[in-house]
Amino acid sequence: MKDEAYYRGLLSRSFDEELGQAESKALEKALLQSRELREESARLRNLREAFRSFPKPSDEAFTEAVMRQIEQSDVYRFPAYWLQWAAAASAAIILIAGISIYWSAGSLTAEALVGVSELSPEDAVTLLQAY
């Protein structure tokens, strides 16, 4: 027969883990024989029951406080979101413009970008004479 501390240890473990067959049988036998161990078992059950009935507070004020904080954080985050959208839109516009210039001028040189790639020196003379 093992000492009382051993059976108390087994009892404590028995609530949360599956004991081995030998341990389980030994505990059952000890519970039948020892009144103190049965009382200890009842106390542990009471302890666990008491924790199960731990209050779970719930009220509208808490929900309101959370929603208020989230609203505030959304307000603070608005400029960042706005900037992201603006940056994405700008990138899209630049990309579309680049594609359309390449499509019409056949290259992306500085002349093509400023729109003078198809002008020849004679055109410049003609333009100067017109003014």
Partner: protein
């Protein structure tokens, strides 16, 4: 009340009403977890609110691999442990400077069992065990998670959870003797 999965999907798409519903459904669980970890103190509800703010921030990436309640418990335990560390640091500083701030609470050891009800006794007993053990007790005994779920939430082996529970239970049993 909206179905939870529906609520999560709608909250992810920015529906404030759906998110409100999630807060209503889970605040009891989250607040109980945080109070069990920190005690009945003013900052407990602040930490519980922070849990939902973190959830709101994480919602776009929430894939639903874990149950929402498990996910919230994990955040609640982590934030509570952070708060306890912060409190400990602050406590050390206050001790060093010998200034008594309003946060310092003196335990009334003279109060006998008859002056407290079981709830207060449980709360006090919980505060007397190490935070790592308290987290296990909170998830297993207060929230009713299985040992396996508790181990997953705390990222610990199941054996460690079981042994911590057994040791914490023995300590709580000895503290709460008069009430049991």
């Amino acid at each position: 009340m909206l179905q939870q999965n529906d609520c999560i999907l709608r909250a992810k798409s920015g529906d404030a009403q759906a998110f409100r519903s999630l807060v209503e459904q889970h605040q009891g669980q989250v607040r109980a977890t945080v109070r069990s970890m920190l005690g009945e103190v003013a900052e407990a509800d602040d930490v519980a609110q922070e849990v939902f703010i973190r959830l709101h921030q994480a919602l776009p990436g929430f894939r639903g691999d874990a149950k929402l309640s498990t996910y919230l418990s994990r955040i609640a335990i982590n934030l509570s442990l952070n708060e306890l560390k912060r409190r400990k640091r602050k406590g050390r500083w206050l001790t060093f400077t010998k200034t008594d701030g309003p946060e310092l609470q003196v335990e009334d050891k003279a109060a006998g069992p008859e002056q407290q009800d079981l709830k207060d006794a449980l709360q006090r007993a919980l505060q007397q065990i190490d935070p790592e053990f308290r987290a296990v007790v909170t998830l297993r005994l207060v929230e009713g998670y299985s040992v396996k779920e508790t181990a997953e939430i705390l990222d610990l082996p199941q054996g460690t959870v079981a042994s911590r529970l057994a040791r914490a239970q023995q300590k709580l049993r000895s503290i709460l003797g008069p009430w049991l």
